[in-house]
Symmetry: C2
Subunit: 339 residues, 2 copies
C-alpha cells in the first residue's frame, strides 16, 4: 500500500516516532520517507524510525519527485488532511489514481495496542492526580476569580503533565458551566457554588480527558459522590451520573457507537432533560484528544476490543448551571473498563 | 464581495470579534452570518459583532442553504483553508464560480491598523518583561536541566501573558541551540554556556515574538550586548547582530521582501557563514504568529507602511552552537521601527 501523510503531526508521529510542523511522510510499498526542512534536520535524523530522512525546502516537490521515480500507480490520501491548494499540485503533476480515505490515520489508530493503552492509562492517572491537587489549591484560594482559578488549574495540569496538556482546561462556575465550552470570567468563587472542571494531560504524547462537576462549600473535592444544596442541581447531577454510569455498564463490543450514545441519552430524556444534552456522549482519545470512535447518535462504527473513548453526558441549563461527568474507558473483555 | 471562512480561528475572529473551533463565517454582500454548533451558542450570541449567529449541527449544510437562498453567483474561498473533503461538498451542491484566493485572510490582514499596532506593541512589551524575569529566574536556578529551564520560561511567559503564549518557547543550550527548533534535553546548565531563548506572549490575541542569545556565567541577561568567552562564538554572534541591525536599518517601504532578506543574508555570507543561515530572515506577525509578509529570498511582496514582521537572522553550527537574534518591527514613516 502507498500513502502520503501531510503535516498532520500525530499522524506523522504514529508512522515514524517523530513529528514537526513541516513534514511529509511517504510510504511506498516497503520504503518509507520522512521529508522535512533544514530546521529539523538534526532532530529528524536522530529520532525518525524506519524511514529515510530527506531534507528539502520544497517538501511537496520532493515528494512528487520520489513518487514519480518509484512509478507509483495508486496513492492513498486523506481528503480531510489535504487542502485544495496542495492537492492540486499533486494532482496536476502526478498521473496516478488517488484513493481518498477520510480520516485515514484515525482509522489506522482506532484500535489501541497494549502499549498505547498503558500510555493512556498513565496519562489518566496523572490527570486524576492533577484533579486532586487542583481541588486542594482551590480551597487555598477561596474568593479567587474564575479566570484565576482556570489559570491555576492549567498550571497544575502543566506541572503534573510536565508541560503538555491535552487541551486548555475548562473551569466554570454556576451559570458559566451551562456553556459546554465556557471562557473564564471575572466572577468570584463563592461558597455554595457549582464548579465544573474539564481537563487532561499528555503522557508521551497520549492524552487524558476527564470532567467532574462538584459542589463547592467549606469543603469540597472532585469525587463522584456530590451533595448539592439545591434540589434541582442534585436532580440534574444524579441524572447525568446515572446516564454516565449506565452507558459504561452497558457498553459492549459489537454494539454500534450510536447504541452507546442512546443508552446515555435515553436516561436523560426519560428524566425530562433531553433537549439540554446538546452534544454527543463521547469521542475516542489517543494521540489526538478527539479521534475515532465518535460516540454520537449518527455513528455506525462498531465497537471493538481495544478502543478507547470518553463517556461524557451533560445537561446545560442556560443562565442557571451545567453538569457534565466524563471518564475514559477502554473496551476489554468485551466490556468498558474505566481507565 | 462574497466569501466564506471555514474553521480558521484567527480569520473568524478578524471578521467578527469571536471565534471557536467549529464555525463558518459567511459574508454575502452586506449580510454576514456566523454559523456554529450548540456548544457555543451563548458565547457566540454575546460576542459576535456585525453578523447573524446561526446554530446548527451541520455547519456546511447550513452555509450551503444560505448561499442558495441568496442566489450567489461567485464565492471567494481560500484553497489553503479548505480541505478536499469539505470543498467537494460545496462544489457538488452549489452551482457558482469559486474564486480561489490563497491566504485570503492573511492578505486582508497584511497591513495592520493603528489599533492592531498598539496591541502588538503591548504584546511585545509584555514579552520583553518576561525575558527579563526569565533571566533572573535562571540565575536563581543554576544547575537546572534544559527541559526544566524551558518549563520555567514557559510558565513565566504564561503568567505574564495571562496564560496565552504565541507558541511553546525554545530555550536551548550550546549545541542544542544549533537546532533552530530544538526540543529540550536533560542537559544541565553550566557556567560559560550559550543560551538561546525564543518566545512570546499574546495580548488580546495579538502575538509577540523575540529571540535572544546570551552568554551564561556568574551573571547574565538577555541584553543585545553580549560578551562570550569563546572567540568563535563572539565572531558568530557579532555577525548575526550585524545582519539583524543592518536589515532593520536599511528596510524601506517600497522594497520587495526578498531585498530585506538579502541585506541580512549578504552580511552573513560575506562573513563566511552563509550556508549556516538555514531559514528566511523573518515573517509577519499578527493574530497568527506566522503570517504575511514573509521576509524570504523567494518573496516578491512589496513592503508597505503598517506591515509588522520579524527580523531574525541566525547561524547554526551543528554539534557546536547556534545564534539567533530576533525583533519585531513595524513599517512607519517608510522605515522599520523596532516594536
Amino acid at each position: 500500500m502507498n500513502y502520503i501523510v501531510f503535516k498532520n503531526e500525530n499522524a506523522l508521529y504514529y508512522e515514524c516516532g517523530y513529528s514537526c510542523d513541516n513534514a511529509i511522510f511517504l510510504k511506498l510499498g516497503k520504503d518509507a520517507f520522512f521529508i522535512t526542512d533544514g530546521r529539523y534536520e538534526l532532530e529528524a535524523k536522530e529520532q525518525v524510525k524506519k524511514a529515510k530522512v530527506i531534507i528539502s525546502n520544497m517538501l511537496l516537490k520532493e515528494a512528487i519527485t520520489i513518487i514519480k521515480k518509484n512509478k507509483i500507480k495508486q496513492l492513498t490520501i486523506d481528503p480531510n488532511e489535504w487542502n485544495i491548494f496542495s492537492f492540486n499540485r499533486l494532482k496536476d503533476t502526478l498521473k496516478l489514481n488517488f484513493n481518498f480515505v477520510p480520516n485515514f490515520s484515525h482509522k489506522k489508530r482506532i484500535i489501541k495496542t497494549q502499549k498505547e493503552i498503558e500510555l493512556l492509562q498513565k496519562a489518566v492517572k496523572i490527570g486524576k492526580k492533577s484533579f486532586k491537587k487542583i481541588a486542594q489549591e482551590i480551597l487555598k484560594n477561596k474568593g479567587s476569580k474564575e479566570f484565576e482559578l482556570n489559570f491555576l488549574a492549567e498550571s497544575i495540569f502543566r506541572a503534573y503533565g510536565k508541560r503538555d496538556i491535552s487541551f486548555e482546561p475548562i473551569l466554570a462556575i454556576n451559570e458559566n458551566a451551562a456553556k459546554p465550552h465556557a471562557l473564564p470570567t471575572k466572577k468570584k468563587l463563592k461558597n455554595k457554588s457549582l464548579i465544573l472542571l474539564d481537563g487532561g494531560v499528555k503522557y508521551k504524547r497520549y492524552c487524558s480527558d476527564r470532567t467532574r462537576t462538584a459542589f463547592f462549600d467549606e469543603d469540597f473535592s472532585f469525587k463522584l459522590n456530590q451533595k448539592f444544596h439545591s434540589k434541582k442541581m442534585q436532580k440534574v447531577y444524579d441524572l447525568v451520573r446515572k446516564a454516565h454510569d449506565k452507558a459504561i455498564a452497558k457498553a459492549r463490543v459489537g454494539m454500534r457507537a450510536k447504541e452507546i450514545d442512546k443508552i446515555a441519552r435515553d436516561v436523560i430524556e426519560k428524566g425530562g432533560y433531553g433537549k439540554y444534552f446538546v452534544h454527543s456522549t463521547g469521542h475516542g482519545v489517543g494521540l489526538d484528544i478527539h479521534e475515532m470512535p465518535y460516540i454520537s447518535s449518527r455513528s455506525d462504527t462498531i465497537i471493538e476490543e481495544g478502543m478507547v473513548f470518553t463517556i461524557e453526558p451533560g445537561i446545560y441549563l442556560p443562565d442557571e448551571f451545567g453538569v457534565r461527568i466524563e471518564d475514559m474507558v477502554v473496551m476489554q473483555g468485551s466490556k468498558a473498563k474505566v481507565l
